[in-house]
Symmetry: C2
Subunit: 404 residues, 2 copies
Amino acid sequence: MSLIVQKFGGTSVGDADRIREVAGHVARTVRRGNQVVLVVSAMGKETDELLRLAGDVARHRHGREMDMLITAGERKAIALVAMALHDQGIEAASFTGSQAGFVTDTNHQNAKILDLRTDRIQAALDAGMVPVVAGAQGVSTDKDVTFLGRGGSDTTAVALAYALKAEVCELYTDVSGVFSADPRLVPDARKMTTISFDELLEMTATGCPKPAMRSVEFARSYNVPLHVRSAFTWEIGTGVKEEDDTMEQASVIAVTSDTTDGKITVSGLADRPGVAGALFRGLADHGINVDMIVQNVGVGGHADISFTVPTEHFEQSLEVARTALPELGAREVTGDAEMAKVSIVGSGMKTDPGVAARMFETLAANGINIEMISTSPIRTSCIVKREHTEAAVTALHGAFGLGG
Amino acid sequence: MSLIVQKFGGTSVGDADRIREVAGHVARTVRRGNQVVLVVSAMGKETDELLRLAGDVARHRHGREMDMLITAGERKAIALVAMALHDQGIEAASFTGSQAGFVTDTNHQNAKILDLRTDRIQAALDAGMVPVVAGAQGVSTDKDVTFLGRGGSDTTAVALAYALKAEVCELYTDVSGVFSADPRLVPDARKMTTISFDELLEMTATGCPKPAMRSVEFARSYNVPLHVRSAFTWEIGTGVKEEDDTMEQASVIAVTSDTTDGKITVSGLADRPGVAGALFRGLADHGINVDMIVQNVGVGGHADISFTVPTEHFEQSLEVARTALPELGAREVTGDAEMAKVSIVGSGMKTDPGVAARMFETLAANGINIEMISTSPIRTSCIVKREHTEAAVTALHGAFGLGG
């Protein structure tokens, strides 16, 4: 008998029909002799609707109250899923984050798990029940309701899988697995059978939308095997685990793209210690998350720094950089809000030094100019103009032979 | 400085505008130097919508899960009200039933309060905050979420007012007080300034829709002064307290009507001990709530029993009575689903023996036949055909001089 944690996202439980479908799948999993713990997100777009309602009611979004509000969505979902399971003849009981034993810090809207006390969940399992746990929520050390943030349901599931020593944590979603490229851009993108935590992390960091990066980090740290799969087709998806010899050792396994980047360049900086620090401290103080940073020292001892920021913070970032020009001893600030990051990912890159060169050659051969480059041991990313995204992804997917 | 508990029903917080209006009223109450504890119901028709959703998802309505589902509505409302108060510059914090200290039995969907531990609410008050408490919910002795049932928010408010020794419990609703008759039926119905707990109890038991009867019983038992008033006009409403000499001593203060009654008559019953018991045990076993019961012993030692049941249980009650005919030694069962109960209520009736007679004469003078009669010390009720309801109420309201 295996213990499996199954997590269902919002679209998977978007309406009454979907909830009954999910209950049917869980019932089949139980009848095959498995113990199941469910983690459920709020139905469909409910979290967005609650946020809109809060905006209608008040100008200020008080963290403690926002968490009380938003966590109501998961509560509804777990009760309905538990009822649908009863209808399938499966004993089930719903548990809020607090009831499931998730103790968090007091950082509302984005709380971190401090402790997980699984005695109620374990007791339900021992009694032959399916515990249905509300995703992305807990109770703080101040006894207030807390929300783990967007994507927090994945974290809830991985944490439960670790604490309960589950065989696998299945993350059900609206895609059927992790693909070698976004199938909307590359029709012959291939669903991967197995990838490593490191590869999935690099992919989520560079544009692969699911699962939530924080949960993958958690799964990697605690070695919790994941299975990313579909709640619509129910086919086998993509397994995620520690890298081992059974995995494909292709240099490159996937091409990702992220079209939410804007690029800013500060030119003619004084080349003295502390200048870059002053620039990025200023951006951090405005809560702006800088992604890629590249610095060149040119002739005459002056430096140019380019960096990327989310498009939504582009104008504000330009403003911060311009204001800092005198302090930085810099000449000018230029920027382009419409950039994209195209990345190739693969564990085999570590032992294949020609991979990056092939990426640059492929983009050049397609007339695509590379504006910035960054690398990790298992990833190479290029910043290109956003209009080239699809052409770049398609060309790289072909050049590295990733087609299905 | 007075401590006031203010309870707002679903229509009072039906949308974002209403929530901001309520927050404005609370802010004014606080600025006048009062301490306020709020109790809030789910927004508008949300509870109904959650019930419908449960019906769409599952055939069986599991009590524990229904309570988890339904209590989500109040959670949303308290968070939004607290945020709206922050916008008004009022410090506030929302509390679920569990956080507010409501410990209940495990009778899901209709839980009873066993204990109320107000330390978190008192601490919030001591810190100068307005606690915003979710109505109609608590945590059971099994640590499960419980729902106190429809109208339970009124009970939450009265219990808090008692435990915190509040000066008054204000029940805000969509009517501006308690009236001498339903103003939709009787245009010159008069809003009463003050009535006694006993009078309000008799009125709610016989068709006055608000406040919930259980909360009035609670308020009477613990002598918690109520103030039934409008969340739309904000005018002074009707005070409810123990009977005292300052109250109006009119024989009759109000006429109520309830058009949800059906009448069933079992004729020719053997007049022997235990027969009536057998009949009503059978109905109780089907969960049917019998209201009025009248028995006559006729010639030949045979009895007729008439009783009223809610219209929704009329057909089932007929069936139960018919099935029991042989056991009861009875001749036949007849019934009329379309009946109404018209009642006059007033503490002064206790010392005015002519009141009931005047009621019967008034109905007779208007050509309205009385099918059953029941009385309490401060109420007389007559069952009449439903089509006569409006005429009966209007005639009685006029005959007892209740007009504004």
